[in-house]
């Protein structure tokens, strides 16, 4: 049997769980079977601000099948306050009588069946003491302030270099604009679900979690347990986009309920609870000022933001975080404020900070380009930053110029041929726009155990999570590459705190961090096998230099003479080794001599019916530098998904607050519109990244977040080119263009 050896990394292989998904056999958390599990249902607040004056649970308790009703009055005390952000809020569920937002959980009903629990929940009577709600950011803006607490400790609220105010004053060309973005939601298909069961003081949680280790710690803290007492398992996830990055109240409540009723308890959120209680990207108002010389050289940027935050926590949406890194501009001042609104706490949503922040800055850049009469692409090239403009350090890799070049060629970018509002095709206005994107590359410690068995199969074990991006597949490919075996010989176990600790599946850390752990583990196994062979007098490789041996398709061989070699199977068999296994550990460096980031460039053609002004993205080219692409098929899929995700935010998505109470009026998929297939034009994703071991040992960087940055401004800039009208508020819905 001879087949040509294909390097597993980069190969376009199908997802390892593809068949299970398309045949409906894939198990998501709500599908995990549980003998005798009871069901928990939350009783939602009907008001958005105030207190519970009285809560009457008697009728609910008497209803058929009801096991318990928990309220702030009878709930067992939490034993600790988990750290923000992996528990998202500083207030734990049911901890007092205060109501901070609409649909907040006021009680938990646990019953034998889901229907019994739902019915009993409708029987809980709440007597409210109405407070005075702050309904939206406009109402709160006058009281904006610099945030304090754990969120701003993680995400700085100020960046400075040079003297931006003075530089602006003396700049010959200036742009000074305000941009707004709506409250938007992750809106994943899968509602979060938890199944909790206790065995003495041991808690097992099945939870829709993007980070089982981080969440285990949060849960353990709330129950006053050592982390080893909590096992957290995450099955396949039906989309998260960040709403499963933090732990929310329902996870703790499910565990608490299981303890109270001494039975496993399942709690699956309904759609409305997903919208109101698992985070969102908050509404923002941003002011951007640019100063430039007539030749387009930027002299100053200021970026001031205010975002809505919940009554319980000051969470600043980190929209200013990448502004210092974007362009080689000597003077910069950026500042973030928050304003209290009666809404749930916001969370990380693809892409935290950078989607809204770079919407504002990249639109302002376009406005500056038109002010200067300069190609927006040229303006960006002119201000290209070779090194990180704030730290002065070189990047581990930056192929943004290549992104521009490849994207412009693919799209056929040419500027200046048509004035804004003049390009037509039949009844359509046509416009072109572009923008670029940057995302700081994060890292987390990660470990993975890799083994090769004497039957020739291999296995990877790491507590990563499959959220739909293709993680299981790419990790298999990395292991296969390191071992020198075909990916179809490799299986993976993931999503469980009983496995070696993987990086969380958020912050674009999987490819770089977990991928490096798998890479290192697989390399260690390979090296161990090679050493075993070259020291073994019975091996055809006996006496060879370690470096002279390669492994392909499960066979160790001499590079110079591939006919000399033997398979893992023969080697292990002869030595009576059932499986050769090693753990790979990736530890990010504390201090780095380089800056790590991913980059993107977007080119967009919009078409807008002249009378019925819905914006359609007819063509979209996105080009990304995310280091080495682990699997072009899953990467393309993820990148296109990310671009379409961002188009939704640009054109239609908004969680609309009632202007009186602040309670959301679109917490349902019928009203919270995301793009449907018919909305999606020709969306292309291209990659220019290369093997970048300076970023991470595996040579890959993250993709899941960079692919959603820069889309909204490219679309808004194209809308201006098509119509001559600047829309500085997302989403760009039809009435803004009438």
């Amino acid at each position: 049997m001879t087949r040509s050896w294909v390097e597993p990394i980069g190969a376009n292989i199908n997802r390892v769980e593809a068949l299970a998904k398309v045949t409906g056999r894939a198990v998501y958390t709500a599908d995990v079977p549980a003998q005798g599990a009871a069901h928990a249902v939350q009783v939602p607040s009907q008001i958005s601000a105030g207190r519970v004056r009285r809560i009457d649970t008697r009728e609910a308790e008497r209803a058929t099948g009801v096991l318990a009703v928990l309220t702030h009055q009878n709930v067992p005390r939490w034993r600790g306050q988990p750290a923000i952000p992996y528990y998202a809020e500083s207030r734990l569920p049911l901890s007092d009588d205060r109501i901070h937002f609409g649909n907040q959980c006021l009680a938990l009903v646990i019953a034998d069946t889901l229907h019994q629990a739902e019915y009993a929940a409708s029987l809980v009577l709440v007597d409210y003491q109405l407070g005075q709600p702050v309904p939206n950011l406009d109402a709160a803006r006058a009281d904006a302030y610099p945030p304090t607490g754990p969120y701003p400790d993680r995400f700085p609220t100020e960046h400075r270099r040079g003297d931006a105010v003075a530089a602006l004053r003396s700049a010959p060309v200036r742009v000074d604009r305000e941009y707004r973005t709506a409250t938007i939601s992750h809106a994943p298909m899968e509602p979060s679900s938890t199944l909790a069961s206790w065995d003495g003081d041991q808690l097992t949680l099945h939870d829709s979690s993007q980070g089982v280790f981080a969440h285990r710690e949060a849960v353990a803290t709330a129950f006053g347990l050592p982390v080893e007492s909590v096992r957290l398992i995450s099955s396949l996830i039906g989309g998260g986009f960040g709403n499963k990055s933090y732990t929310w109240g329902h996870t703790l409540l499910a565990a608490l309920a299981a303890r109270v009723v001494r039975r496993p308890v399942r709690l699956t959120l309904n759609r409305k609870e997903v919208f109101t209680g698992t985070g969102h990207m908050p509404a923002m108002i941003q002011r951007v000022r640019l100063g430039a010389r007539r030749d387009g050289t930027l002299t100053a940027i200021t970026h001031d933001t205010v975002n809505a935050t919940s009554p319980t926590d000051d969470r600043n949406e980190p929209a200013i975080q990448s502004t210092p890194a974007l362009y080689a501009v000597p003077n910069l001042a950026a500042r973030a404020q928050v304003a209290k609104v009666n809404i749930g706490t916001s969370g990380a949503m693809r892409t935290p900070g950078d989607t809204p922040g770079q919407f504002a800055v990249e639109c302002a850049m376009d406005e500056l380009a038109y002010e200067l009469g300069m190609d927006p692409l040229e303006l960006r090239r002119k201000n290209y930053a070779e090194r990180h403009p704030q730290s002065g350090k070189p990047f581990s890799g930056k192929r943004l110029l290549r992104c521009y070049e490849v994207g412009a060629a693919e799209f056929g970018w040419s500027w200046g041929e048509a004035e804004p509002g003049t390009l037509r095709d039949g009844n359509d206005l046509v416009g072109y726009g572009m923008a670029s994107g940057i995302r700081a590359e994060h890292s987390a410690p990660a470990a993975a155990r890799v083994e090769i068995s004497s039957d020739g199969t291999a296995e990877v074990r790491t507590g990563t999570q499959e959220i739909g991006g293709g993680t299981l597949t790419t990790m298999v490919q990395v292991a296969a590459s390191g071992l020198g075996v075909s990916p179809d010989r490799v299986s993976i176990k993931a999503g469980d705190t009983d496995l070696p600790q993987g990086a969380p599946t958020f912050g674009s850390m999987t490819s770089g961090s977990t991928g490096s752990a798998v890479h290192l583990g697989a390399r260690r196994v390979r090296v161990a096998a090679i050493r075993l062979a070259i020291r073994d007098t019975q091996s055809p490789l006996h006496g060879a230099e370690e470096d002279a041996v390669d492994v392909r398709d499960g066979r160790l061989l001499l590079r110079a003479d591939p006919s000399r070699g033997e398979t893992y199977v023969d080697l292990l068999d002869r030595h009576g080794i059932g499986a050769l296994r090693r753990v790979g550990e990736y530890q990010p460096e504390e201090e780095s001599a380089v800056e790590r980031a991913t980059f993107g460039a977007h080119f967009v053609e919009v078409r807008i019916d002249r009378q019925l002004s819905r914006v359609r993205v007819a063509r979209h080219v996105g080009v990304f530098d995310c280091g080495r692409v682990l699997n072009e098929k899953t990467a393309t899929n993820q990148a296109r998904g990310g671009m379409i995700f961002a188009m939704g935010g640009a054109l239609m998505e908004q969680l609309v607050p009632d202007p009186v109470s602040g309670r959301l009026i679109t917490p349902a998929l019928t009203d919270y519109h995301v793009p449907v297939h018919a909305d999606i034009g020709d969306v292309r994703a291209l990659f220019v990244g290369e093997h970048e071991p300076e970023a991470h040992p595996v040579g890959a960087k993250g993709l899941g977040e960079i692919c959603s940055i820069g889309i909204a401004p490219a679309i808004a800039n194209a809308v201006f080119h098509a119509t001559g009208k600047r829309v500085r508020e997302l989403p760009i819905t039809p009435e803004k263009l009438l």
Binding site: Y119, L612, I665, D679, L738
Partner: protein, 323 residues
């Protein structure tokens, strides 16, 4: 969801009897609306009548050339003659829902569907339509999706049906059956304006149910068009829609009927616009006059002011596209 009794009456008389004697009884046809309302606790019938054993799914052509469509005929109707003679109906149905929904949804259920007003569909808000006399949170709330015609100081919700807009332009009649026997209700009288009784969503009397819809014969020289505008390409209710039916002799418009959707508590006949066309040729001037006249009487608020311009434009588009 509250528990309820499910009945499956074997004939019309039994269905009518149950409806008349039990105030808490509701009819279920395809269930695409009622089930979601029950799940969200917006409607809590104690008894549900499943009409599947009543037939009422036929399309019957009448000797005068008109057609009678059974109340339980699915919205995914695939009838060549219907498509040829009443393309407006088919266009409105297709614009109205996904194939999955149209397979389940029925003609009778479609015209009886409840408003999509968020304030009605979310029980935490006050709603006179859902709970008479409790007030209307929408009147002080976000009115971007609310009506600009026919509103009252108790309700400004919009009727969501596309089919009903087409039926309105075709001057259909709704066939109903009740304790006093059968009767016909012209479509324009079928959906009452909210006035001070917004909870009354149809002209059906106690114990009555819809058995069919009758369309008058298509006149000679008739052309029609349906234009629906929404904020995404599909899977959305209309921000504004227009159904137009024009009858011409030569180039002169003899009859014109224009109905608007997404802008009123019922399919809204734009009679001023119709009058601007009759007796004239269908050209740029008359179309401009008709689209301007279409918004006469509109009472928009700040958030839905855009719908006024949108109505002008959908009417202009619908008329301009006519052959």
């Amino acid at each position: 969801m509250r528990t309820f009794q499910l009945d499956r009456p074997g004939d019309l008389a039994e269905a009518v009897r149950i409806l008349a004697e039990d105030e808490g009884a509701r009819v279920i046809a395809g269930g695409t609306d009622l089930v979601t309302l029950m799940r969200d606790g917006i409607q809590q019938p104690s008894r549900v009548l499943d009409l599947r054993d009543l037939g009422l799914t036929e399309i019957e052509w009448q000797p005068d050339g008109g057609v009678r469509i059974g109340a339980l005929c699915p919205n995914a109707v695939d009838d060549r003659r219907l498509a040829a003679e009443y393309p407006l109906v088919v266009a409105a149905l297709r614009a109205g829902a996904s194939p999955q929904i149209r397979n389940m949804a029925t003609f009778g259920g479609n015209i009886l569907q409840q408003t999509r007003c968020a304030y009605y569909r979310l029980p935490e808000f006050a709603c006179n339509r859902r709970d008479p006399g409790t007030g209307c949170a929408a009147l002080r709330g976000d009115s971007a999706k609310q009506a600009i015609f026919g509103v009252s100081d108790t309700c400004n919700a919009v009727h969501p049906s596309d089919l009903a807009v087409a039926l309105s332009a075709l001057e259909a009649e709704v066939l109903v059956h009740g304790p006093a026997g059968a009767r016909r209700i012209p479509i324009r009288e079928f959906h009452p304006l909210p006035g001070d009784t917004p909870h009354r969503v149809s002209a059906l009397r106690d114990g009555e149910l819809v058995t069919g819809i009758e369309l008058p014969a298509a006149g000679r020289g008739r052309v029609s068009n349906y234009v629906k505008f929404r904020d995404r390409a599909s899977f959305a209710f209309a921000l504004a829609s227009a159904a137009v039916v024009i009858e011409r002799a030569g180039t002169v418009v003899l009859g014109a009927r224009i109905a608007l959707g997404g802008v009123a508590p019922k399919p809204w006949r734009a009679e001023h616009a119709e009058r601007a066309l009759v007796g004239n040729r269908l050209d740029e001037d008359s179309i401009a006059a008709a689209s301007a006249a279409a918004v006469r009487g509109a009472t928009p608020r700040k958030d839905n002011e855009y719908k006024v311009e949108l109505v002008r434009r959908v009417v202009r588009r619908a008329l301009s596209e006519l052959e």
